[in-house]
């Protein structure tokens, strides 16, 4: 167990000290939200109506940002070789790294979302709905993303390939996340069903993500 704790502490320490995680992710989130009105026009009524969707899209794109460093940094300095020779199951290692990534990148997005909702003139119930759906949905984005990150590090191609691999897999999360947030605000559809499906998607990703990513790492690194 101390191995798990050591890995979690190390990854969080690195994310905080290198500053690429939370600050950069939240900044990107802010930029994406700022870009939308330039494309859509400053009509607050329109922005308020599609606000949850804008926030979800921003959080989704920002979540992807630090993902490519998840394994690439360890691969580049040889840490990944040692991780593969440890006595911890690789699936558990991947899950712990994904958890550290979510705590340092995903959770700050959830906290920033209500603040950014001010720019889109969302009222408090809408803010709360978006924050809650993001809280449940961003772990799914991270854990699904680990599969893409593992594949990308073995492909050694970096850049957009991670986004190309992961984004289609995150579509269900996006659909149900926005649906649940909108349901809480606009109604008539109830909030419950899409939200429970969102929770289920997250739970499924906690299992599929680490197993698939571990398999990708094992087979990809020859």
């Amino acid at each position: 167990m101390s191995a798990v704790k050591a890995l979690l502490v190390r990854d969080m320490r690195l994310a905080v000290r290198l500053g690429g995680g939370a600050p950069m992710g939240v900044l990107f989130f802010l930029i994406v939200v700022t870009l939308m009105p330039f494309a859509l026009g400053p009509d607050l009524a329109l922005l308020r109506r599609i606000g949850p969707a804008i926030l979800w899209l921003g959080a989704l794109l920002a979540s992807l940002l630090a993902l490519d460093r998840l394994f690439a940094a360890d691969h580049e300095d040889g840490s990944l070789d040692l991780i593969l020779t440890s006595r911890l199951p690789l699936e558990l290692t991947v899950a712990v790294k994904a958890l550290a990534h979510w705590l340092t990148t995903g959770l700050p997005l959830v906290i920033a979302a209500p603040v950014l909702a001010l720019f889109l003139d969302l009222d408090p119930p809408a803010m709360a709905a978006v924050a809650l759906t993001l809280l449940v949905g961003t772990p799914a984005l991270t854990f699904i993303g680990t599969v893409g990150a593992a594949l990308a590090v073995t492909l050694r191609r970096g850049g957009l390939i991670l986004a190309v691999l992961v984004l289609p897999l995150t579509i269900p999360v996006l659909i149900f996340g926005v649906a649940a947030a909108n349901a809480a605000v606009i109604g008539p559809m109830p909030f419950g069903p899409p939200f429970t499906i969102l929770c289920a998607l997250s739970l499924i990703s906690f299992v599929i993500g680490p197993f698939a990513a571990a398999a990708a790492l094992r087979h990809g690194l020859e």
Partner: protein
């Protein structure tokens, strides 16, 4: 404990690097893998460490812990140092100690063994290449594993550090460990078996007269 290989073959990027390689090491024995660059020294070590797939042949460890794989009972020290610049020297070693299943409190003696004790609180970004190498080697002392797989361990080390490493290797062998080391030059181990990877004919280790003691001048 016995580490043995029979008929090992390695294929990388479609190219056959070596075939028919075999060796047998008992506890307390060392194997020096020699050969020019590209002959497959690193591939052999990575194969034993479980990082490269075995194309054909067999690799077996007898007498170790039965629930653990070969890789989980070996230390692999490759070309890279696995040192994170954003962490301090001590934090780097503490992480590997805990992650690889070592006992608590072994990092400070390990740092002293590699003459890094007075740099423990320094961020690893400030270390020179040789110091990073020594930090990487410190985990050999901090976590006890019976098999050491060392890929050019003396690179970037000065004479004093090489002597220190030779001492650690001799101590490990005396305690019944096994070492497989790829090297270009002498590592100060007397009576180690040598395996030349670029010789023609079947690949078998030969008894060496004993590598030159101590580090290079």
């Amino acid at each position: 404990m016995r580490l043995s290989a029979t008929g090992l073959a390695c294929v990388r990027s479609g190219r056959e690097v070596f075939t028919g390689l075999g060796f047998a090491l008992a506890a307390g024995e060392a194997l020096l893998v020699l050969g020019r660059n590209g002959a497959g020294k690193s591939s052999l070590l990575r194969m034993i460490a479980g990082l490269v797939r075995i194309a054909s042949g067999r690799l077996a460890l007898e007498g170790g812990e039965s629930e653990l794989t070969l890789a989980e009972q070996a230390h692999y020290v490759g070309h890279q140092d696995a040192v994170k610049p954003a962490l301090t020297v001590k934090e780097n070693l503490e992480f590997w100690t805990q992650y690889l299943g070592g006992e608590r409190g072994r990092s400070d003696p390990a740092l002293d063994a590699l003459a890094l004790g007075n740099l423990a609180a320094l961020p690893a970004a400030y270390l020179s290449a040789g110091q990073k190498r020594r930090l990487s080697l410190a985990r050999l002392v901090a976590v006890k594993r019976p098999i050491w797989l060392l890929d050019e361990p003396t690179s970037a080390l000065d004479a004093a550090a090489q002597e220190r490493l030779s001492g650690l290797m001799r101590g490990h062998l005396a305690a019944g460990g096994i070492i497989v080391a790829a090297t270009h030059g002498p590592v100060g181990l007397m009576g180690a078996k040598e395996l030349r990877l670029d010789a023609s004919g079947p690949l078998r280790p030969a008894e060496s007269e004993g590598a030159a003691p101590g580090g290079a001048a």
